[in-house]
Symmetry: C2
Subunit: 261 residues, 2 copies
Amino acid sequence: MELRKDYILDRWVIISKTRAMRPHQFKQDESIYANDKGPKECFFCPKNEDKTPGEIGRISEGRGWRMRWFPNKFPAVRLQGKYDITTDNKFFTYSDAYGEHQIIVETQEHDKQMTDFDEEKLVEVLKTYANRIEDMRARPHVKYVTVFKNHGKAAGTSIIHSHSQLISLNIIPLEVQTKVDAVKRLGGCPYCEIINTEKNSHRRVFENDNMVAFTPYASRFNMEVWVFPKNHHKRLDDFTDEDYLDMARCLKHILAKLKTL
Amino acid sequence: MELRKDYILDRWVIISKTRAMRPHQFKQDESIYANDKGPKECFFCPKNEDKTPGEIGRISEGRGWRMRWFPNKFPAVRLQGKYDITTDNKFFTYSDAYGEHQIIVETQEHDKQMTDFDEEKLVEVLKTYANRIEDMRARPHVKYVTVFKNHGKAAGTSIIHSHSQLISLNIIPLEVQTKVDAVKRLGGCPYCEIINTEKNSHRRVFENDNMVAFTPYASRFNMEVWVFPKNHHKRLDDFTDEDYLDMARCLKHILAKLKTL
């Protein structure tokens, strides 16, 4: 796995051959869920724990678990090799794709998606994100951590059982760096201003004491929604318990609405 | 149709409601070509010329045509309204989505794709691109013209009959501007250097007297290929007849190879 920079732009890509070898529960051109083999053969279902890489952690329940996390079996990055960026011949800039790629399985239940989780469960998921991010950012040479969750075949999901992914990296992606630079240039916190503006606009879709959600002014996708804490927090683990609960309520509301569309 | 800038980044999007109303020859979740109704009902086939917006031009053949171009019936931009960029309240930057959106139908034959065209036909297509680009860039307030060709359902094609699209705009997209700035900073023509490097590397996939094709060092997609003239040309219509012919040969070779994969 290699991290490579474009000849000219500060745009990075991960070159990985092994990712193409992932198992797929969707067949090409088959409709969603058509090729799901069910709990017996699912890598993320209980009783199949030995089919995943060694567990990093779990939230236990009795002798079993409510959530568990482990390294991705087909990682896009790993903690091996050279994390320093090298430039050869002016145009070839690279390093090993250095970082961690983890999976969080959020539920034992094969058929439950995030939209089916109750508020308490959503809080547990969010707190686990914060905990995983903190763990990953504490490692040396990590400059960026991202959390994502693909849903449905069109999003590239290969396993139907509800899960989230985290990737840490030894570089800051171009778009993130551009945003950091722009925020510095603007002075103060532009997001606090944006939130104040949008919570009074027709683009607001949900608001409670601590959270506000709105469709961004220049949205790139249909149904795109941004969720923000109203208080200025730099990091997810700066959230108070009230923030987590209000975020869970906000997510619950939005996911329920999206399901009806 | 509106052009809107992100709150913070110089990233623009076109907000368009009418694009969702396009006819689709593909049904969702059906395999490619499954829902093609054939030449009789195809908007781009001969005898149905009255189903497209008024023709801008054509390459005639007898009483018919070999190629024809016209405005897109469901345009993403149009030559109406305000082309100047306005900024309200610091975060809301916009204009009308000002520009042209044209379609080139490249062949009368419903089932022929670009990979089936001979060299002479490919030269005709390339020269028509150059001619259309020149026409569009001559209009006042146009800052950028892009040519693209979607192929297959996954690329978002709504009509199977082979065609290309051109869009002109009153802004320069962020990625293009970033590239222009980087090239200025690097001095000279970095692309001339990149071409010289890559034509001697294992990433070269084709080369003839005037053209070279290679898979870029930091490719973002499987099978991504870049094609360059070896001579330093700034614009497609600076191409000589030899350039056009060699570009056609290069395209022919690459498309034939891609078809076998």
